[in-house]
Symmetry: C2
Amino acid sequence: MGTSSEVPDIVVGRLPIYLRALTVLEAQGQEIASSHELGQRLGISSAQIRKDLSHFGEFGKQGTGYNVDYLRRQLQRILKVESELEVALIGAGDLGHALAHYDGLNKRGFRITAIFDSDPAKQGEKPCACVIQDTANMAQILREKGYKIAVIAVPAEAAQEVADTCVEAGVKVLLNYAPITLSVPAEIQVQQIDPVVHLQRMTYYL
Amino acid sequence: MGTSSEVPDIVVGRLPIYLRALTVLEAQGQEIASSHELGQRLGISSAQIRKDLSHFGEFGKQGTGYNVDYLRRQLQRILKVESELEVALIGAGDLGHALAHYDGLNKRGFRITAIFDSDPAKQGEKPCACVIQDTANMAQILREKGYKIAVIAVPAEAAQEVADTCVEAGVKVLLNYAPITLSVPAEIQVQQIDPVVHLQRMTYYL
DNA sequence: TAGATTGTTAATCGATTAACAATC
DNA sequence: TAGATTGTTAATCGATTAACAATC
């Protein structure tokens, strides 16, 4: 064991997949799952699942497997998603609206509580529980309310500037839907969602 | 060298990122780029970029670097995105509509030419160039028109069944927005987009 | 107890990096 | 030529897997 910074990124990246599978199993009323069963569902070897989990502790019982509810809670704790997290959404175009309406975020602990758009025509609209505000006020609001998580759903041309503002305002986690690679300080977490990139890595095999 | 099946998945996965960066550079009028410059922009080592490209051929010139336009075209060829590819979209909820409206797909070679939804109220609607059809007719249409690529934007409960139908109808590439791990034959390519999974792998570091 | 499955070790496998000859 | 950068090799580094003692 040791400090959490020793856990490989790639291991951390699989935990949400495990968590999701456990949530599904629990909804189905299953109380126990073995690493073998989990692995089969996810297309991952059972050894890898056990190895991954061993970075964080001992969660199973020999001869039995893992208690689904217990392991789910442990993963939520490890991933720091036990309580609800507030998310700022920047960009209220089609995608921004779709995200604002999407209850899957809410149900899984991410609450969009601020939305920004630079288009005055959209400001004042209320696509979900919160009203669309002017991007000009974003930096101040992010800092005052202490937002740590932001979702960027603006056009590619605006994304880097939005990211810079977020970082400057104290945001630590960025989910970027704009199709460009953002340049941010090393301590800032960025994940990219670009459907074209995902499609292109598959068309290679056609 | 050898057959393309020898190229590691992880290398193929980076090519779309390179392609995207080259497209940006070209739009900015830059004609030449070195592996070092590309790497700096992407947060990847120059050695890795050269190694990755070396799986497919020799595209650069010593002492100079890579011709941006030439390398971009080569990557498009390797990734099989030289010509437009037809995409079927299943699910016309908020996300489906957002995808149908998104011109970034079109501009980068993926044309949505069929949309399906099981809700009769939505059928007949025309969110983009094509009309929403009944999911009941999906299998037949996918097979007749020879769709190889489908985007799944239905609720989690319906996703596995939709995937099964797609695979049965000859689809080879699936982009899945539903928050479940799909079970498909090994030869089928699947990529998953789940914002919650992306967020959770970052909240670990908060 | 017998059967099953964990957590962990050691071996294997694969990916990344550093370094450099080739060459533009 | 001098400077720069590629493509490639070999070394390093890290991740996955197989195997098994521990134990429920």
